[in-house]
Symmetry: C2
């Protein structure tokens, strides 16, 4: 049996999703919780490896189990073994062949900037300060160049060497509400650190330090050193992973967060 989980977490305290030898990760905590619940070793596979400090509203993971276990038991029993900053928000059984990473068709990420002199502690865990005078029109215009298929080598973090650095971006939009500026990007896949590197470079555009044509030129396989700095992790949230109609939306006790339908829904502070 293959089980699919939808998992939300604050990344603040974790060295990212992926299990590592000398650091606490979300995958590790999840495997420990499920192992305690099911009384056997469990290995989960996540849709994507979020970096240290990056959050997820609806990460997806799968694992195999050679027996039937009630999915509501996975949610509530698993959560009883998890720390407060990780929660299983949905679980279902899926057809054989489902693979959280390989079956994914698209992912949506959101990055939050607040243009202010002093970032409020009410915002600081999930957003990053930006200067008040960045030019959002320049940023918006450059961001539109992201849509389509590009070689994102210039936006891959070291340690994330990819043999195939071409990815397709479906959506790259900024929305503004007061001092808040949110970047919403949907793609068929993301290189390591790609969203944060894009945001850091777009901020250079917004500060007038990089022109749009220079930004666009980076999308055709430039060197990493040509791009701007990497924006900090706490502004980034993996919002959802979509598997298309073949695999269904998943069951989700938190709402309908398994797919992109709920992508724009805020849980405002």
């Amino acid at each position: 049996m293959v089980y699919r989980l939808t998992v939300a977490y604050r990344g603040t305290a974790y060295a990212g999703w992926q299990r590592q030898p000398n650091a606490v990760t979300v995958q590790q905590r999840l495997e420990e919780a499920l192992g305690n619940l099911l009384q056997e070793p469990v290995r989960v596979t996540g849709a994507g490896r979020t970096d240290a400090g990056v959050h997820a509203r609806a990460q997806v993971a799968h694992f195999e189990l050679d027996r039937i276990f009630p999915t509501s038991g996975l949610v509530h029993g698993g959560n009883a073994h998890l720390p407060d900053d990780i929660r299983i928000i949905g679980a279902c059984r899926v057809a054989p062949g489902f693979h959280a990473q390989r079956s994914a068709r698209s992912k949506g990420y959101r990055y939050r900037l607040i243009r202010t002199e002093v970032l409020s502690p009410l915002d600081a865990l999930f957003a990053v300060r930006a200067p008040r005078d960045i030019d959002m029109d320049l940023i918006r215009s450059a961001s539109a160049r992201l849509v389509g298929e590009h070689d994102f080598s210039a936006f891959a973090l070291a340690g994330g060497a990819h043999r195939q650095p071409v990815r397709r971006v479906f959506t790259a939009e900024w929305t503004e509400r007061g001092r808040l500026a949110e970047f919403f990007i949907v793609g068929n896949g993301f290189l390591r650190g790609m969203v944060r590197s894009l945001v850091g470079t777009l901020l250079e555009v917004g500060r007038g330090r990089m022109r749009e044509d220079a930004f666009a030129a980076l999308l055709e396989g430039a060197e990493r050193s040509a791009a701007g700095p990497t924006a900090p992790p706490q502004g980034l949230v993996l919002e959802w992973v979509d598997y298309g109609p073949d695999w269904g939306p998943g069951e989700d006790l938190y709402g309908t967060l398994g797919g992109p339908g709920e992508a724009g829904s805020p849980a405002p502070l």
Copy 2:
């Protein structure tokens, strides 16, 4: 010279605003930071004493100093001595006679509920879970009875005995967005634990356990034991304190949060 500060904090780690002998409080941390900055003992007076775990988007405090100190230095210098979860977001000099508590005309509080089976860790620091099937129409109708002058004795927490338990409520409204339900209440003053006690009792109304007329009867000076449970602190934010035109809106590097104008502005997650 009287200085007026606008202060934001996450209440999660604090035993509330007010200085206490054996617990860490926001007032204490603020006084320590200003003392370090100004190299003399500083005593601040807050507009209201938020309880343990309650947050503030724009608490106001004043202190006296017998010299002129640049207000931008108070903000940035003070913040350099403060922990990450407390920030001075504005400072100005005010006319003699200003008193953060006694000069206040109204305060706005917001309480956040999320109607879900499993509360996401992205929401859990600033919101509280509520059942999905609470009747918001019942809650809304009962909340409308709050507007006006009432004896709120039934909604005062123990230890908050007030000789004068009558307060005037100007606004008591619920807004809904998806699973989020926010209670916004403005009044000329609040008894200790009053907003959380109101929310806990309104939830009883929404569950069908208390009728609107019974709720309304509580507003005329009933015993504490007649009201419902007290809702947890993490859902509550002191949004702003208003001093009217006489004292001005205050200077605020974070925006214009010193007054009610910005009250509805979200910093959404």
